[in-house]
Amino acid sequence: MGKKLYTTVDVYTRALERVEQAFKLFDTISVGFSGGKDSTAVLNITLEVAKHLNKLPLNVYFWDEEAIPYETEHYVRRVYNLEEIDMDWFTVPIKHRNACSTKQPYWFPWAEEEKDLWVRPKPVEGISKIEGYNSDDPNSRLMIPDLDALSRPTKKYGTVGRVMGIRADESLSRFLQVSSRAAEMREFNYIIPFQDKGASGGKVLPIYDWTTADIWTAPIKYGWDTNECYELEQMAGISPSAQRIAPPFGEEPMQKLWRFPLCYPDVWEKMVDRVDGARTAARYSTTELYGFNKTIEKPAEMEWEEFILTQVQKHKPQMQLEIITNIQRWMNAHYSKTSDPILHKAIHPDTGLNWDMILKVAIRGNTKGRRMPKAITKHRDLEEWNKRKARYDKELQESTN
């Protein structure tokens, strides 16, 4: 899967085949539905296969993240009400990243203690308790990937094939998830096995090779119902590949936070009081205040390590530790490969690292154990490597002069 090897079969047909195979491999097939465009595709494809195999109703789960547009809620409700669908609509308190704020690095959708601040009223369909999950105590609240396991325990569901709408062209980190070496060694390259907290099975990624255009061809061709959010975001001038319905306060979605007052004014009114920093991020998330593009200037008298530490210290203590661990991991990886110094702008040809990248992580905060920037090896792309090397050498020379 690492390098694309095109076949003569179209992505739609292949997706059907992959899902059909997944039905054979797992005791339960459950669609992870988000209301987003990719999950529209996996939902309808899996439904198609389930009909064909006589496996209706189709098991579906949806994590309601509270600060979502009403358009998404309405779309999810239309799906919920379909007879062929058996959906768990979860409204349990969960833990969410809030990259808008250094004071409040996490927020808790549907937290009982903040009931009067909820962005939307809790939907009547909502399930607010999961067995084995203590959501009353903020400290024991989990993020969604961890809850996936608790919501589908083996003792009740057997092995679970979680069908998810992850695509390689969505983002680099997701692509890496799909294209890891391990995947090349498995028989079914679109299935990532898991065993976690009393649940086992595999993440099934039947549409990993779809393009954004394919994602929209399908509902037009087959008349699928879709989330109206995309039409609003498109009106607001957001390009099709950048349209997202994910919770808007994480590092990446935050950069498009400005779309909320434009597209979803009713939800936005509540959001500004729900999480700290939302208004600030909507205004400045793509500026140097949030480490975007331009970074903050390092004072000449300060060493890089020292300067980065001052940025890390703007975060809460717990977050500081996570950021420093991550930065140390990067730096260790660098110095295990080379004794060359890390430079301000030029990335090291063998490790892909420079101070600007580290600084960005320090400013934005980081909870995802972000991967080290990818280095290109000499034998894979010699031309690019030489270019980077030349740039690196030039800056090194200038900085030592």
């Binding site: 899967m1 694309k4 090897l5 095109y6 076949t7 003569t8 079969v9 179209d10 992505v11 739609y12 047909t13 292949r14 997706a15 062209d169 390259n189 090779d209 779809w210 393009t211 954004t212 255009a213 394919d214 994602i215 929209w216 061809t217 399908a218 509902p219 037009i220 061709k221 879709t226 995309y230 039409e231 609003l232 975001e233 498109q234 009106m235 607001a236 001038g237 390009s239 099709p240 590949s241 349209q243 007052p261 434009l262 597209c263 004014p265």
Partner: protein, 186 residues
Amino acid sequence: MTKNYKNQPISDVQWIDREELFSNTYNPNKVAPPELKLLKESILNSGWTQPIVIRESKEIVDGFHRWTVSGHKEIKELTGGLVPVVVLKEIGEDEQIMATIRHNRARGQHGVRPMAVIMQKLKDDHKLDNDKLNKLLGMEDEEIRRLYEAGSIELIKELAESGGAGKNVEHIKKFKENNDFSPSWD
């Protein structure tokens, strides 16, 4: 309340020569060229509707861009170089700076859905064409189209198609001559 309205700055709009005013040094508000053009259009179309806010020293508190375009020939001719001002009396530097920010910041944003409804009305009922809308609303064709078509998923698809697919764009294009979807890959 009514007895005090005469004390409000707006009750005392004066017309003074634009050359007497001068800009402040801190104004954080930047107006991009298309919006500046629209501002000029606005004054030429509706006339002067809002005064420039100044201190007694004649330093501008709010309305720097109205003052800028008042130097343009056509606008200057409207009033012979006079501009309407109101004066904030006896304010310190801190109050002045904060007044500037408040004048700029205390305003809303146009929601896309109501804007789409407006666009359809202007185009369908009032038969305004793109050339007129470009000029009178300072909107480029792209914005007009997105609002007018109200974001159909067909349009999203069309835009996604034109977004390209990286290195393999030619390969996918060829495959799609015979297929609705792109080729799968391993």
